[in-house]
Amino acid sequence: MQSKKFYMFNNFFRVFKFGWQEISRNMGISIGTIFIIFIALCLVGGTFLLRGMSENLIATLENKVDVSVYFKDDAKEEDVLLVKKQIEEFPEVKEVEYISKEKALETFKETHKNNQLLMESLTEIGSNPLPSSLNIKAIQASSYENLTNFLMNGEYKNIIEKINWSENQAIIERLFSISNAVKTGGFAASLILVLIAVIVTFNTIRLAIYSKREEIETMKLIGATNWFIRGPFVVQGLITGFFAGLIAFLFFYGVEMGLSSRGLGIFGELGFFNFFEENILLFLIIQIGGGIIISTFASLLAVQRYLKTEKN
């Protein structure tokens, strides 16, 4: 008498054997299915990467956006520091940096130390011509306008020489509107593409299993339990999903390597590719995990249709 444990192990082993046999003996169909899941995963992975990379790029650009407030020559340092303190109290302000006249001069000299003409002019003037300033970074673009209004109409308006916000206003606003569009639009686009990927995969697997419906019927007549019939299809789903995910990952890895090694100018500098490198493990899990889940679930669902006992 066989023990129950032996029986279960035997069945488990056979389900795997049959699953693998089906794949290897139907190489054409298996490769076709893997290719379709690969395409679907490219859609999913592509949107994931594009969103992440764009958000990374925008975050880098946003970080470069700031507003400089230049003070009049006769503005006292303690007044400037008071302004700094007040601005820092705004919740939407991320960072305020005070640049004194001396610091400004030092930076200027350091930057232009090789420019003989500028250096000579500076000596000729005799005094420090550079103004003190505050460099403000905000969380949102809309905050810059509020800050500018506050400064221009507040008690310190007399010591302020100029604010360079208005000069950059158009560019900054445009950047932030693009950023918002990418965030919301990107999410909607990913959802739609993921849905398309899932539907295409489901249909491919459904058709592959449809061609097996008579074999499924035969197995039922021989007395195979539903799990004994379903099992090999699930194993096939697991294996094809795994390979499709792995190939999709390697594909993206290859493309990323190729593009980033060429630098691609400003995109490389702005960290467009950093997103992929930082999230490489997550991406690997998404691709392989996604492949396995979509393909296995589709197999289960498709085969279930033929396992139902239909009677009049």
Partner: protein, 226 residues
């Protein structure tokens, strides 16, 4: 062993396939069920295998009421019956050996038992030399022998054959019928449906004749005439 008690089957389009059918099959018996196409032979087999449910009446196999069993018991019930069809119903991606082995794998038999028993079954039906061929590489007769080996390898109480020679030439048909008789001699009950007069008359065993869904004759050593 098997009892059909007043079984009637009416399909949803009001087509009466079987009408008030009653008969029994004993252990080790050989029963031919003959009739023209559409007489209800295949429906009768489908009812026995619980592929369909009767509209009225009941079917008893040993002590099981076939139509009242739970769906989860169905696979275990079907393992008691060996079935052979006109279209063989082999699994195309499996070799002859694997097709026959599958019936034992379903039962959870060990690999060593499968390696021992499958060649015996293939030898009995005379296709041991084709063990590693795929179904598409076989003739119709060889495919039917494979199906027969698959049906008997599980040592069923009854072997059911639904028009098993329908696609075969006369010489092959005679060979297959001889195999059925041999299997019956070894103790397995056989239920064979056919519309072939020559087969029935050569068998010289119990004959049930169906016409338009009704039993018109049930005779020991009957002859089939139209």
């Amino acid at each position: 062993m098997i009892y059909f008690n007043n079984v009637t089957k009416v399909f949803s389009n009001n087509c009466v396939a079987l009408s008030d059918i009653s008969f029994g099959v004993s252990d080790g018996e050989f029963v031919s069920i003959a009739g023209k196409s559409g007489a209800g032979k295949s429906t009768l087999i489908r009812l026995l295998l619980n592929e369909e449910r009767p509209t009225q009446g009941e079917i008893i196999f040993e002590d099981i009421n076939v139509n009242k069993m739970s769906p989860s018991y169905l696979p275990y019930y079907r393992r008691k019956i060996g079935v052979v069809y006109q279209d063989y119903k082999l699994l195309p991606q499996k070799t002859v050996f694997e097709n026959v082995a599958f019936a034992l794998e379903v039962l959870g038999k060990s690999e060593s038992e499968i390696k021992r028993v499958v060649p015996q079954a293939l030898d009995l039906v005379g296709i041991l030399d084709k063990a590693s061929n795929f179904p598409k590489e076989l003739s119709g007769g060889e495919q039917q022998r494979t199906a027969l080996a698959r049906a008997i390898v599980i040592q069923p109480r009854v072997l059911v054959a639904d028009e098993p020679t329908g696609n075969l030439d006369m010489i092959t048909t005679k060979e297959i019928v001889k195999l059925f008789l041999k299997i019956n001699q070894l103790g397995t009950a056989v239920i064979l449906t056919t519309h072939n007069r020559e087969i029935v008359n050569s068998i010289q065993k119990r004959l049930i004749v169906l016409d338009k869904g009704k039993i018109i004759r049930d005779e020991e050593k009957g002859r089939y005439y139209l």
